[in-house]
């Protein structure tokens, strides 16, 4: 049986894990990129990031100071009973993790006026989906402001095609890539609607570096865009070099005939995701 306590515990553990341990595909990428870079400053940045991951794991401290805000995706099996107050269960988990991990509390209430720190990094943001089955999958995404500020959602004309989408992504990376802690992970969600595209782009960040979309045409588009981005010269830390992006993920969903919603989620190298399946 899944209880409030099960959820709280899972959220807590996943937040701790995501903020302290750099994803394995990311460290593998950084090491590989260092072999390819030729410029001093690019190698310096990659070297620092590789050491940073080791220090964070050794000392059990967050690898980035912006321990961000927490988004929780629930894929809740239809055969599992719902719990009474999911938001409370999630917030309790966030609160415990951010206290125990000595993470930064970065969430403010009343953003328009007082901008008062909530003091425990809550509320967590919840995306809830009912799926078939008797399990609950909890997926946590923690994102800092630096790269979220660089993200964008554009409602393009329905006639722009792949070229229009590519141009929008390239333009955004050109404008904001250097400031948002490259090498970046770029998730592009096409279709759905204004709100659903944003959510879908977040979910895409769970994909591992090197994994391609099943649709061969989209897979090719991902590789082409990655190549174009890595020719911009922005490089690790924005200091110049080849590794501007670690990967580009694209997916699509049906949309209205008159729209082409495109959510371009720019994520820094500090990709913080963690997942667990509860039974």
């Amino acid at each position: 049986m899944i209880t409030k306590e099960t959820i709280t515990q899972a959220v807590k553990e996943l937040c701790l894990q995501a903020n302290i341990n750099v994803r394995k595909d990311v460290t593998a990428f950084l090491k590989q990129a260092k072999e390819i870079e030729t410029q001093d400053n690019a190698c310096f940045a990659l070297d620092v990031l590789i050491k940073n991951a080791e220090i964070a794991a050794d000392e059990q401290k967050p690898f980035c100071q912006d321990t961000g805000y927490v988004t929780v995706f629930f894929e809740w099996g239809a055969k599992v009973a719902l719990i009474d107050d999911l938001q409370k269960a999630v917030d309790e988990g966030v609160k415990l993790a951010y206290k125990e991990g000595y993470f930064r509390q970065s969430i403010v209430s009343d953003p328009l006026f007082k901008r008062e720190n909530t003091g425990d990094n809550t509320p967590g943001l919840i995306n809830f989906e009912i799926v078939s089955g008797s399990e609950v999958k909890v997926s946590i995404l923690i994102k800092g402001a630096g790269s979220d500020n660089a993200s964008n959602l554009v409602m393009l004309n329905p006639t722009v095609g792949t070229k229009g989408v590519e141009e929008a992504v390239l333009e955004l990376v050109k404008q904001k890539g250097a400031r948002s802690c490259p090498p970046l992970l770029i998730a592009v969600a096409v279709g759905g609607s204004f709100d659903k595209a944003g959510q879908a782009s977040k979910k895409l960040l769970f994909r591992k570096i090197g994994e391609r979309n099943d649709n061969p045409k989209i897979a090719q588009m991902e590789l082409d865009l990655l190549d174009k981005i890595n020719k911009l010269g922005i490089g690790p830390g924005g200091l110049g070099g080849r590794a501007t992006a670690m990967d580009v993920f694209i997916n699509q969903k049906p949309c209205h005939m008159a729209t082409m919603p495109v959510a371009i989620n720019i994520c820094c190298h500090a990709v913080r995701t963690a997942e667990a399946v509860l039974r």
């Binding site: 001093d40 400053n41 310096f44 940045a45 620092v48 990031l49 050491k51 940073n52 991951a53 220090i55 964070a56 000392e59 401290k61 967050p62 690898f63 980035c64 100071q65 912006d66 321990t67 000595y102 993470f103 930064r104 509390q105 970065s106 901008r115 720190n117 003091g119 800092g144 402001a145 630096g146 500020n149 250097a178 400031r179 948002s180 802690c181 010269g233 830390g237 924005g238 200091l239 110049g240 820094c268 190298h269 500090a270």
Partner: protein, 174 residues
């Protein structure tokens, strides 16, 4: 390796965009909200809670400190958010700005005019950078929580000159 001491007494205009340096001495650590307050104080001709002459600003806000530790994790935040507040601080004697990412033209012009430089360090390398910090004190605006003004003592803090005194900018590539 080129070293820079803070408070700045040497001629930092000898440094060139793209050079790697190590910074030792005291850094003022603050960002968005503290900038807003300081610039308000300056506009009202009020006395500031700390001196800016020959000092360095590191745009950052650390995680919490574990018991027995000096500081939590700390790394640079996106500098361009501070662009609109930077000119008056440079005019009051700030010599080094440390953060990440490009700056707008107004900052560059003010750096040239005030013979100051902008440096970047590696964003998201907060566990690594915290090893270079030897002392930490909150000196103003404690109510801002993580965004309060800290004075930190650093040793061989690694950075790269991004915009030098002549306005040459590492982020402008031909």
């Amino acid at each position: 390796m080129i070293s820079i001491k803070v408070p700045v007494s040497s001629d930092i205009c000898e440094l060139k965009s793209g050079q790697q340096v190590e910074i030792s001495g005291d850094l003022l650590v603050f960002r968005d909200q503290a900038h807003k307050r300081l610039v308000c104080e300056l506009a009202l001709n009020n006395k500031l809670p700390f001196d800016l002459e020959n000092q360095a600003i590191f745009y950052a806000a650390p995680t919490e400190t574990k018991p027995g530790g000096i500081i939590g994790s700390i790394g640079p935040t996106t500098s361009t958010r501070m662009d609109d507040f930077t000119k008056p601080l440079l005019e009051k004697g700030i010599k080094l700005l440390i953060g990440k990412g490009p700056r707008r033209k107004q900052v560059k012009d003010s750096l040239i005019k005030n013979k100051a430089i902008y440096l970047v360090t590696v964003g998201g390398a907060a566990a690594f950078l915290s090893k270079h910090i030897k002392k930490v004190k909150i000196i103003a605006y404690q109510d801002l929580g993580p965004e309060a003004v800290y004075l930190i003592k650093v040793e061989k803090f690694p950075a790269i000159v991004a915009i030098d005194c002549n306005g040459k900018d590492i982020f402008e590539r031909s």
